[in-house]
Each structure stands twice: as structure tokens, then as C-alpha cells.
Symmetry: C2
Subunit: 281 residues, 2 copies
């Protein structure tokens, strides 16, 4: 499908992506770049890695697709590093979970580049992080959002969507700005709510943990995620996220009032709406 794909960064997402690219035969050659020499040495022995590079500019030379899989706050810097070293028509994409900053900065960075940038957000992950937890089926059946703008080359967009679909992902198009609002409510907010519930229980008597059932375990599962990673994600999408938190704060105030005032019908109707939404996703 592509003769050569470069994967920059091999944490959970980058390494899982390389595995999936190999499995689904999306590229003859897979180039890998990582910051740490020890990581590269490890990758060099893997079946999903054909060439390793210490120099990021070298790593993208001759590739038709470059996927930046590093933490969100380093993506723009890497785009700037590689933009003048790309082949004609090379597609650059990323896996960052916040898109507006990245897509806005890409316009300036790729203005004189031979390559084109189209943002992407494959919504796969795990509460476990790092190369050692990578798995080739991480993306199977999951959603991938691509975020073109009005100047995006349609041929490149089609190729990129076909690529994600080849990994069995369900691909949707959003503008970068709508993507960030949508994930603030549907992805980052659940993390904050789950963490707030967890944090609020930390100071309660230890004995009470014996009554933790599956309900609590499910509701707080994502709170176990990497705090450093989520701190970055939340801060990059802070304005949208604050609005989303306030929206849930209103819901919480509403249900509290119905309980305090012993208004059974209000409480029932609230719980029914919650149930209705859950059944719709």
C-alpha cells in the first residue's frame, strides 16, 4: 500500500501501530525513529521494524507515510524538524489526542514542504503504557478521527483514510476544532470524572474498600491511566474541557437537589436519561 512508512516514537501507540502495519501488509519497509538508543536497539530486533534511525530527518527520507506517535506536546517540534526532508507527496500524520494546536501549526510548517500534513486521532489506548504493552490488535474495531481542513489535498485524504481503514478502524472526519470539543466531552471528561471519583474516595476509611463492587471498578478504571500523559492531554484541551466539566457539574447539582428534596420522579427521570444515553453508545 505504501512502499515505506516511518514511525516516529515507539511507545504503546507507535509500537502497536508498527505491529498492525506489518500484520495488515501496509508497507514493505517500516522505519523507526526514537529518542533513546536503547529503545532503537530493542526495535531493531523486532519483526515489525526494518530500519532504525537516531536522526529523525534521515528516518523520513523516501517514506510515503510518516506517523508521529510521540506525546502531544512534542508533535509540532517534530513536524518542523522533518518538513523539509520529505519526499514529494509524502503524507505526514500523527496520533495526538488533541488536534487544533497541531493542525494550526502544521499550516505554517508545511507551507513550503513537499509533504502534506493531515491530523489523525486513532482512539485506541490502554491504562498501560509503553512499548512493552504494545499489541498488534490495539486498533481493531476502534474509531479513528481524521481532521482535514478546507485546503487538504483530497487524494492524500483518501489515502490516509484507506490506511486507517486497512487497520480495521472506523474512520470519521471532523474539523480539528470540532474534534477537540467532541473529545473534551466524550473522552477527556470521562477521564476527569473517573479521576475525581477516585480521588474523592482516597481519604475514606480503608475498611470501606471491601465494599468496592464491579460498578466502582468500571467507573474508575480509566483513572488508573498514566497521570503524566493525561495531565498533558487535559492541559492541551483545557478550555473545552473546563466547559465539559461545568456541564457535568450542573448534572451533579441537579441530581443532588432531587435526592435532597426527596423528589423521586425527578431522580427517576434523571437516572432514565443517563441510562438512555448509555444505551445509545
Amino acid at each position: 500500500m505504501f512502499s515505506q512508512i516511518s514511525i516516529l516514537g515507539v511507545g504503546l501507540l507507535g509500537a502497536s501501530l508498527a505491529m498492525a502495519v506489518r500484520k495488515h501488509c501496509c508497507a514493505s519497509t517500516i522505519n523507526v525513529w526514537a529518542r533513546k538508543k536503547t529503545t532503537l536497539d530493542r526495535c531493531a530486533e523486532e519483526v515489525w521494524c526494518d530500519q532504525v534511525f537516531e536522526d529523525v530527518q534521515e528516518s523520513v527520507r523516501g517514506s510515503n507515510l510518516v506517523i508521529i506517535c510521540t506525546p502531544v506536546d512534542s508533535i509540532s517540534g517534530l513536524m518542523a524538524d522533518i518538513s523539509s526532508h520529505l519526499n514529494e507527496g509524502a503524507i505526514v500524520t500523527d496520533v495526538g489526542s488533541v488536534k487544533e494546536n497541531i493542525c494550526t501549526s502544521s499550516r505554517e510548517i508545511f507551507k513550503n514542504s513537499k509533504g502534506v500534513f493531515i491530523g489523525a486521532h486513532p482512539m485506541a489506548g490502554s491504562e498501560k503504557s509503553g512499548l512493552e504493552n504494545a499489541q498488534c490488535n490495539l486498533f481493531e474495531g476502534k474509531t479513528c478521527v481524521v481532521t482535514p481542513d478546507e485546503f487538504t489535498c483530497l487524494d492524500a485524504l483518501k489515502k490516509l483514510k484507506d490506511f486507517w481503514r486497512k487497520l480495521n478502524m472506523d474512520v470519521h472526519e471532523f474539523s480539528a476544532s470540532e474534534h477537540d470539543r467532541a473529545v473534551a466531552y466524550f473522552s477527556h471528561l470521562p477521564h476527569i470524572i473517573s479521576s475525581a471519583l477516585s480521588e474523592s474516595l482516597l481519604a475514606q476509611p480503608i475498611k470501606w474498600r471491601n465494599v468496592s463492587g464491579n460498578g466502582l471498578k468500571d467507573t474508575t478504571r480509566i483513572a488508573a491511566g498514566d497521570p503524566r500523559l493525561w495531565e498533558q492531554i487535559c492541559m492541551m484541551n483545557s478550555e473545552n474541557l473546563v466547559l465539559a466539566i461545568e456541564n457535568t457539574e450542573k448534572s451533579l447539582a441537579k441530581v443532588k437537589k432531587s435526592i435532597q428534596s426527596k423528589n423521586n420522579e425527578d431522580l427517576f427521570s434523571f437516572l432514565k436519561d443517563g441510562s438512555k444515553f448509555r444505551k445509545s453508545i
Copy 2:
């Protein structure tokens, strides 16, 4: 273990309990009482039901253990109905998820009874309800809280704990009042938080539902539960639950403030505490 056990009410919990009693050979005879004749007719054909009764007083006669598995707001009424029809030393217990009201009313009701009441709360359930979703392994590996008071006969308490342990449950003793505080925070609160998140997303653009990932699905799974059942549970434990909600509201206000004020270290430390709690349960 018991020659005869009566199970009053055969919804998800009652029917699953009858199945588990049969599987683990806890009784030679299993009596079943239910309000609806059609339910009794159905039970009469099941391997986990030996005798069915339309009269609740008849259904407990000669039993050594009676387990009330009806909705929480009907438990005290049934205790009053059966208390003067019990065998000498018969143990009466229940599966209600709120205990203080029930245990307090049991003192008066069982004062002149030949039987003894000890509250219980086997913490098993599902977002699915009803006899048709019953399963014999619903209780396996789950927690069961028993709520004796200072006058509880220790022999009866031991028998009851042994019974729940025979179903492979992890048995803990709490006073009824501490049980209700503990479940307010560790069981009812997660339900309200999960519902509030769900309810707050119902009015967002439908297209955004495409970015729902596993995180949102896990965090809102219990919100899909039966609204009528949870309305009852929440109202029966309303005072404790309001305090628990306020505790999480404080956590939410704290994390919102750290995001608004771009205080990365506060946000990181908050997420770390949330992660720490989750890993402890």
C-alpha cells in the same frame, strides 16, 4: 447445610441465589414465594425450585433459613408478615443494599419471634435485571456484608456467614450504619457519578458519539442500570449519599481549578491520587 431454605422474591438476585444454593448443595429443599402467579408457575419447572407458594407465611414454615430478595422498600413489610410463622431458631436475612432502616425495624418485628434476623448485602448484580437474567455464578468471588448488632446471636451469625462463604463470597461484618455510609461512597456514589456523566452528554451533538471510546463506555456502564431500582436505593440512603456527592463535587471543583489556572503540578498530583486509589481496589 440447611434442610430447607425459603427464598422470597425471584428477580435477578433471588433466582440467582436459588441457583447457587442448589449448585453448592446448601439445602435439601428450596421453597420459593413470589407475588405473581405466572412467576411461580415458571419457577415450579426449574431444577432450583422444589416448592412454590402463593402465601408467604406458608412459604417459610419449617425453613431454617429465609432470604428476602424483594426490592428494598418491601423488605420490612415481609419481615412483619412472616415473623410469627417461623421455626425455632430460623434465621431470616435479606439482600437489601441499604441496611439501617431494615435492621432497625427488625428489632421490633422480631422481638417476640422464634426466628432471628441478621441483615446481609451480597454485592452482586448486573445492569440487567429480572429472573430471565439470573445466573448461578452471580455471587462467586463477590463481597457479602453481614450487619449484626450487639444483640445478634453468635451461633446464628456464624451459620449465616458460613452460608455466604459456601457460595464463594468474601464475607465482611459492618454495623448497619457503617455499611450504609460505606456503600453510599463506594457503591451508590459511583452510580450517581456515572449517571451524571451520561445525563450531561445526552444533549451534546449526536455526531460526537462517534468518538466514544472504551473509557466512556466503562465509566458509564452502570448508568445503564434499572432507573426505578436505583431511584429506590438512592432515596433509602439519601443522607449519606448527599454527603458522598458533595465530597466528589469538591474533588471536581479542585481539578477544574487546576486546569483553569494551568497549574500542571496540581493537576498531575490530582490524577496521581486518583490513579493510586484505583490501583488499591
